[in-house]
Symmetry: C2
Subunit: 171 residues, 2 copies
């Protein structure tokens, strides 16, 4: 048995643990620089940058045990003129797998999307993570085969931003 | 000569024209269902879902002419504990290409990212659009080669959301 509920500020240490566990699973154990203060500011203020769900495993006469999480935010479709949801993180701790907890988390994210009138629910998957790909496809998700993701990181952002000020100074 | 400025509600008909022109370029001419009311509600209220920049071509003694646009919103990095920018649309009308207008738009988006302390600027590119890929790479963007995009559309969202209510009813 399990249940899924909205995260509260009291869950922040747990959320950070789960983010780190997911990063380790994604072979980037040292990538997590986020702090509790970051998550409090960005997730639980007046205009949160993300929403988070916590899955708990339930057994009779035992405290609920954290089993996984889903963290998401909203994107926008200019074709549809509607918001969508981008699922950033979905993770179930290894010892709780195979019990439908990942599906329950994803279903709850979809329910949130439906409630908000969102026209898309999407996420990125690692191309070597066949277990995840099979799981998502079994739930009706499809690859956007034509599209590839490009990124500019911190330094690149500043280099590009400088082009804007140079071009303004020249006018 | 050209300049880039923030869009206002008066630009909505222009933004819709540019969204349609981009959809046509992307070989999906009939995909745009968004209306002026959608863009007004979602882009220009108290908590906008997106921001939009307009590029204008400037010539002496002529009114500024719309040449292109960039439309973006914010995402979130759980590894960094910071927002990033997702660039949804970047488009320059064909007759204004080759003048640095795309670069000026992208630079201005990067400047906005820098101003907001964003750690990432990213977007999706069509894998057959080599002109765009070359352009982005010349400005320092890199492919996220390991990641692929998955999506559930409207119907899929409702089917998945139903799993959540079934699972709740069963508890």
């Amino acid at each position: 048995m399990h249940s899924v509920r909205a995260a509260t500020p009291a869950d922040i240490p747990l959320i950070l643990d789960l983010i780190r566990a997911l990063a380790t699973y994604e072979r980037e154990p040292d990538a997590v620089k986020a702090t509790a203060a970051d998550l409090l500011r960005d997730g639980f203020g007046d205009h949160p940058c993300f929403e988070c769900l916590i899955a708990e495993s339930l057994s009779p006469e035992v405290q609920p045990e954290p089993a996984g999480f889903a963290l998401f935010f909203y994107n926008y479709s200019t074709w549809r003129g509607r918001q969508g949801i981008h699922l950033e993180d979905l993770f179930v701790l290894p010892r709780f797998r195979g019990q439908g907890i990942g599906k329950a988390l994803l279903a709850k994210v979809a329910a949130r999307a439906a409630e908000q009138g969102c026209v898309r629910l999407q996420w990125d998957v690692l191309d070597w993570n066949q277990t995840a790909i099979d799981f998502y496809q079994s739930l009706g998700a499809q690859f956007l085969t034509e599209w590839r993701i490009m990124r500019v990181n911190d330094q690149g952002i500043h280099a590009l931003a400088n082009l804007a000020s140079v071009s303004e100074a020249a006018r």
